[in-house]
Symmetry: C2
DNA sequence: CTGTTAGTTCCTAATTTTGAGAACTAAATA
DNA sequence: TATTTAGTTCTCAAAATTAGGAACTAACAG
């Protein structure tokens, strides 16, 4: 499999974006590759070769991405290879999952305020506002998703 | 300034959370400290001492946080010290800023689809859906903030 | 039962990140 | 002018992350 300059550049950009959100470099590039590649399902060796990385790096990154719910693979009988693909059809779940983890922070903030001196009411109010908005976001996001589904038509 | 066990634990939790979003460890702990500390404004040396970190680490982290729009300082005439504080009253801007950067990814995804083969329409549709939802989120978030302001009362 | 293939694991080296310490600067004070 | 203070910058070492290579495993193929 060969990639155009443009495709390689896009993979790099996606990779760097993913890195900034805390993803390991190789894992970020694998995500980029699967976005860009004409075949949306690639084998272990195709990924390894086209990105020029070792088997261990490939194996570790693929397993990480599966744990993070970003990847999947399909198989075909009579073919021992796994065909890895992004779980793109399930991106809605991923969005909700992402908000969940942000919302956990909200609980910590409430604990913080419970622990804080009462002599800084304005400051405490600001913290509670952040916490409350995160909870609101968490509650409203599914509805926003629904609204989006409708206006999309 | 002395911290209780509970306060220290909260600082650590906030620090770790921040680290997971890509923040440097010391910077994450400074954020934690400023959330938890009874005094919401702390001097360079108070921060350095209570976290047990070096001047260079303190200086670098404080500057980083200011660039990221998370921190601020106030001064008092006749006192050369800076009093650092979280820009908590401006958290709304930070939320919008955060979404901006996610939305940039949306543009990349549209470029990806422009570059992709037309022979995988379902896959391409999924990518465009993600891109479009990110744009929708970007557009709707200010309104969501407004709605939250109202129902908060 | 031997060989091959697909992928994993272990060990290690290279790279990157992080933060300490000391030297430094600029402003205020004595 | 000399000194102190508040914070910065530079250099370097420790620690963590990342990824390569080789040995390994499990499943199937001949």
């Amino acid at each position: 499999m060969k990639l155009t300059e443009k495709q390689q550049a896009l993979i790099e950009r996606i990779g760097v974006f993913q890195e900034k959100t805390g993803m390991q470099p190789v894992a970020g590039r694998i995500i980029g590759l699967l976005y860009v590649s004409d075949k949306p399902e690639l084998t272990f060796d195709e990924i390894r070769e086209v990105l020029g990385i070792s088997k261990s790096a490939t194996s570790n990154a693929l397993n990480l991405l599966q744990h993070l719910n970003r990847l999947d693979y399909i198989t075909f009988s009579g073919d021992r290879k796994r065909y890895f693909r992004l779980k793109l059809d399930r991106w809605r779940e991923l969005v909700l999952q992402e908000i969940d983890s942000i919302t956990n922070f909200s609980d910590t903030l409430q604990e913080v305020v419970a622990e804080r001196t009462k002599s800084t009411p304005e400051y405490n109010r600001n913290i509670l506002d952040v916490a409350d908005f995160l909870k609101y976001l968490h509650k409203e996001l599914p509805m926003l998703l629904q609204q989006w589904e409708e206006q999309r038509k």
